[in-house]
Amino acid sequence: MEFIFEPWPWYVAGPLIALIMFLLIFLGKKFGMSSNLETICTLCGAGKKADYFDINWKKQRWNLVVLIGAVIGGFIGAHLLSNGNAVAINPDTISILKDLGFQSAGESYLPEELFGLNAITDIKSLSILLIGGVLLGFGARYAAGCTSGHAISGLSNLQLPSLIAVIGFFIGGLFMVHVLFPLIF
């Protein structure tokens, strides 16, 4: 039973994700974690500002249920099923990150430098988190999906648009990590 408290290997996590996708399909829905952003915007009245949000959000309510599930899952995973949160990434990655200034690499789940309490009051790390969020929110709606909707659901259905989206994700991600990070950090 001890293994439940350790980080879970990819061959457990991947299949579990596939299971969730099929559960949602058999419930007549689909597996996608970004349309809930649209639903929340609509709930807050964005429908009055732009036609895009003028949708019947009640039909999308299940989005919010999945979202709440993810929150509960995170709570259970972190507080009830863990004994320490350090993420053991590749030592080479750790040294690259330390050169960039991330001393917490290898020792915590999220970088303290960006997500710690003193980081929130620092204007630079706050902007980084905010801008990162804006980019992913904007991009996910433009591409009509994020990693769950495209990399997993879309590619499972052998959809070419999803492949294009995933290629885009990687172009963006690699550019950010290899070109922009050394400039930002």
């Binding site: 439940i4 879970w8 290997p9 990819w10 061959y11 996590a13 991947g14 299949p15 994700i17 996708m21 399909i25 058999f26 007549g28 970004s34 809930n36 929340i40 500002k49 972190a78 099923l81 993420v87 990434i89 080479d92 990655t93 990150l97 290898g106 789940y109 999220l110 970088p111 960006l114 997500f115 929130i120 988190l129 905010l130 990162g132 804006v134 980019l135 992913l136 929110g137 904007f138 991009g139 996910a140 709606r141 433009y142 591409a143 999906g145 997993i152 659901s153 590619l155 499972s156 259905n157 648009p161 989206a165 885009g168 994700f169 172009i171 963006g172 991600g173 550019f175 950010m176 990590v177």
Partner: protein, 121 residues
């Protein structure tokens, strides 16, 4: 998401450095099972729990919206170290600062809604 560390900023960085199989293993194994399962559902014309025939909708055709949207998303994914699913997971895990990322994501979604008609799709 949490226990597999897919919600960890460090793992996303590592993935874009190609320095571990872990993230590729997660997405890859989910995908292989996904492809097999979807093909099974289609060839056997399986029904949902509610008795409705399952229709897995193909994505709308297009190139630019997927490429441009994908690139912008990728930039944000690497910077924030999370995509929407893990954002909610991290909130549950108690990392309050991820709420800033969520606020950004909602803002980004809203901006897209405003600009949508003027962008190439």
């Amino acid at each position: 998401m949490y226990k597999s560390e897919a919600a960890s900023w460090f793992r996303i960085y590592e993935m874009f450095q190609f320095q571990s199989f872990h993230m590729y293993g997660i997405i890859g194994s989910a995908l292989i099972l996904g492809v097999i399962g979807v093909q099974l559902i289609k060839s056997n014309k399986l029904k949902s729990f509610f008795g409705e025939p399952i229709k897995i909708e193909p994505k709308e055709k297009g190139v630019w919206k997927y490429l441009n949207g994908g690139i912008v998303f990728g930039l944000g994914w690497a910077l924030a170290g999370a995509c929407p699913g893990p954002i909610y997971t991290l909130i549950g895990a108690g990392y309050v600062s991820i709420l800033v990322v969520l606020a950004g994501a909602l803002l980004g979604t809203f901006i897209y809604g405003l600009l949508q008609k003027k962008l190439p799709h």
